[in-house]
Symmetry: C2
Amino acid sequence: MSPKVIDHCALEAREEEIMKTALDIITELGVAGLTIDKVVAKVPYSKGTVYNHFTCKEDLLTGLCNRSVRNVAALFCRAVNFEGSSRERIFAIGYAYMLHSLLNPTEFMLVISAKTPSIREKSTEKRQEEHLALESKLLGSILQIISAGLSSGELNLQPHLSPAQVAFSLWSMCFGTIALLHETLDRCSVRTEMNLERELINHSNLLLDGLNWQPYTQDHDWANTIYKYKTELFQNEVEQLKLLQNG
Amino acid sequence: MSPKVIDHCALEAREEEIMKTALDIITELGVAGLTIDKVVAKVPYSKGTVYNHFTCKEDLLTGLCNRSVRNVAALFCRAVNFEGSSRERIFAIGYAYMLHSLLNPTEFMLVISAKTPSIREKSTEKRQEEHLALESKLLGSILQIISAGLSSGELNLQPHLSPAQVAFSLWSMCFGTIALLHETLDRCSVRTEMNLERELINHSNLLLDGLNWQPYTQDHDWANTIYKYKTELFQNEVEQLKLLQNG
DNA sequence: ACCTGAACACCGTTCAAGT
DNA sequence: ACCTGAACACCGTTCAAGT
């Protein structure tokens, strides 16, 4: 082993340690409560070393955002490979997104924060490009399922809609629903009567029926599909969530 | 006129002046670039006076957020009173939301920012309550149209959906679409091929068809309805937008 | 009663000195 | 070549002094 390889691993581990520490601070004190001083105090490196990894505070935030999107991408890959109809798989994408947002509320909020221009503009070019690549990966998973649905005939596109537009309608519906019902972000009068899982299922069904993606809501036992998500596809995540909500 | 009335008006005018100045700074430098010092430098009052109006920087941000939601509420009221079918009026709500986000990109971004716990928690109780009241008002407009649709028989609710759930599905769809396609917030590879107005119309049609809200997309000349929005209901806003996009 | 701005504590970022 | 932390400029917030 050359020293370079060792150094490289050590650098990566250190970067991960800095990011994990920053995430803990944000969970406790909010994005505005994050301070490089506080990170340095909890980590065995100096300020200068932190600034060797991240050019500024915003670059660190974008790094955290990308770390989170990488995890979502992994969940989406599992959804793509779920054994079932194309509609069951596209439905699993939204379910995965929801599970991730519930398991990692701070990260979900951070991804939204990191999109504001004031944060993005100050980040490294490298990390910004990484962010775009990761988002393309997410979209790739969705497009893969849409493509399968078109091949199998389960999805019949209306002539004025492209696959990218369909992918985008699903994405924005999931994003909007999760963002507005996310407890970390907001808790207003109306929303307290709403249940995220139930509403996401409703909205998905409305949209997928509207897109003519078969089998329709009334032609399939969707409760059973969700049972499979919970006990097979996302078993670990659902168990973690139970622990989190009980503890 | 008693001196109290004069003082009260002066106070309100001053508060508006502070908020407008803060908004200009955010438009130029982003939320992170907003500084009480910069506000004070542009305004004929001292730091202490600014802190008499807003207990802290976050309270000022929430104030700006409420100011923006008040304007949205006014547009929603106009949508409710549009002369047309209930579906034309509910469609106008989403259109109004979109126009507002395009005309006031900084404010749209700010409303999202102001929902993060770190900002909300530091704001005055009073301003937080005002925010909830304003959001209820928005929702009230949507519920009013849903109620009219139910009465006229144009909307037939599926048994498992309540009016509040329908209102929420429309809200989250509009929010998600506008947020993801908002240039101020994000500009990624996929999104550049997307056009906000076109996609919002698509998503609205898919959702409203899915909800069985008549007349269906194919049974009405929606292009004509949108023409009416542009030339009657929201004539001023559309003209302002043209000026903004050409200038 | 309200306004003012100096003063203080804290934070992001840099860079000369050290290894 | 990489690490360190003192130093600097800037910012949020307070409050004694002034009107």
